[in-house]
Subunit: 218 residues, 2 copies
């Protein structure tokens, strides 16, 4: 039988997984909204962002209560402090999915992504989706190998962002409006991916007590 | 005489103030680098970002040690958990100052900001500088009124960002390169300001145990 302390600790981890799955679903729908000019999906992402903010606040309070009442140490302490920091990161991933959805909504019924750069955004959407799913798996299964895989996915996202900026900065023939939209969209996907990496690194630290950059040096 | 527990707690707050002053100085120099095409200042900001990252890590470890060894409660606990979350926010403010400096460096000896939108960026730079200074004062002096002032400054930053995007989206006659630079720069200042607001709100919560949005409703 689990005591209430370990139940509270598990519930913190469970809530992190739930929140990661939610912001994963949000970026998936935001990407569909963007690539298929789907207004309904855009609206659903924009509406859901408030739920994520509420969950983040709840998680923060739950973690703070655990610190005050149970005074965890060692790995348990890292789980709780990690959750405190992660709640802000996941909240930010939700914000970024909302930003993507808002541009899709602003340009509806047009598609904000012109055909010439569509392949870049199709791939960005796939990378973001996969990264969110991987981070959720890493937390749920405490799987260190998957955490390292998130770094590789992020390298690809960085390449895609550079590719998009390069396309805009080398004789862009579309409109300035499009260039502004695409600059922001690319930035949102890249930041979403950066936050996924932060999450993965934090989980490595929680599990091992060792930071990712120290782990790499071994 | 202060005991070692309160000394450790004060040192957490002192380090937050030091870090805020540092990222304030970074955005000031990044803005000079940007507006005056000053390569030396751009380089100094880019170099300093690593120091901020190191300080953020140190603060995180100091706060975690305090939790493990001293098990603070009530306001003291909020100071420590606030510091844990704030270290990531200040680190991010340093990143954003670095991003501004990198665009200034990339365009050197040209100025990335054309004359037509220079007034917008001069004001953005002034707002960002003032917000960072105010947040430093709020932490140092535990001054609630100053924290609320940061929100007002942020409203102005949002207006400036909208004004810049509006200028780009209504018949921009400059190059696409400039439009891409300016979209990103405006975003960096706006995000810098958002993080300053997060900091101010977190300090209000630390001092009062009440969240800013609940405070507003009173």
């Amino acid at each position: 039988m689990r005591d209430s302390y370990h139940e509270a600790l598990d519930s913190v981890t469970d809530q992190l997984v739930t929140m990661m799955r939610a912001v994963g679903s949000m970026i998936d729908r935001a990407s569909s909204a963007l690539l298929d000019a789907d207004l309904g999906k855009a609206e659903s992402v924009i509406a859901q962002d408030e739920d994520i903010d509420a969950l983040a606040l709840e998680l923060e309070e739950r973690a703070t209560d655990l610190l005050a009442l149970q005074q965890p140490v060692a790995t348990d302490l890292r789980i709780v402090t990690g959750a405190l920091r992660s709640s802000a990161t996941i909240e930010r991933m939700g914000d970024l999915a909302r930003h993507v959805a808002k541009i899709a909504r602003m340009r509806y019924p047009e598609c904000a992504v012109p055909d010439s750069v569509r392949p870049i955004f199709v791939e960005m959407a796939a990378e973001a989706s996969l990264m969110a799913a991987r981070v959720g798996d890493v937390i749920a299964d405490q799987n260190l190998a998957l955490a390292l895989e998130v770094e590789t996915l992020d390298d690809r996202m960085d390449d895609l962002n550079v590719q998009l900026l390069h396309t805009l900065l080398s004789g862009w023939t579309g409109s300035v409006d499009q260039a502004v939209d695409l600059t922001l969209l690319s930035r949102f996907y890249e930041r979403y991916a950066d936050h996924a990496v932060s999450m993965a690194r934090r989980i490595v630290y929680t599990m091992t007590g060792t930071r990712y950059d120290e782990l790499e040096k071994r």
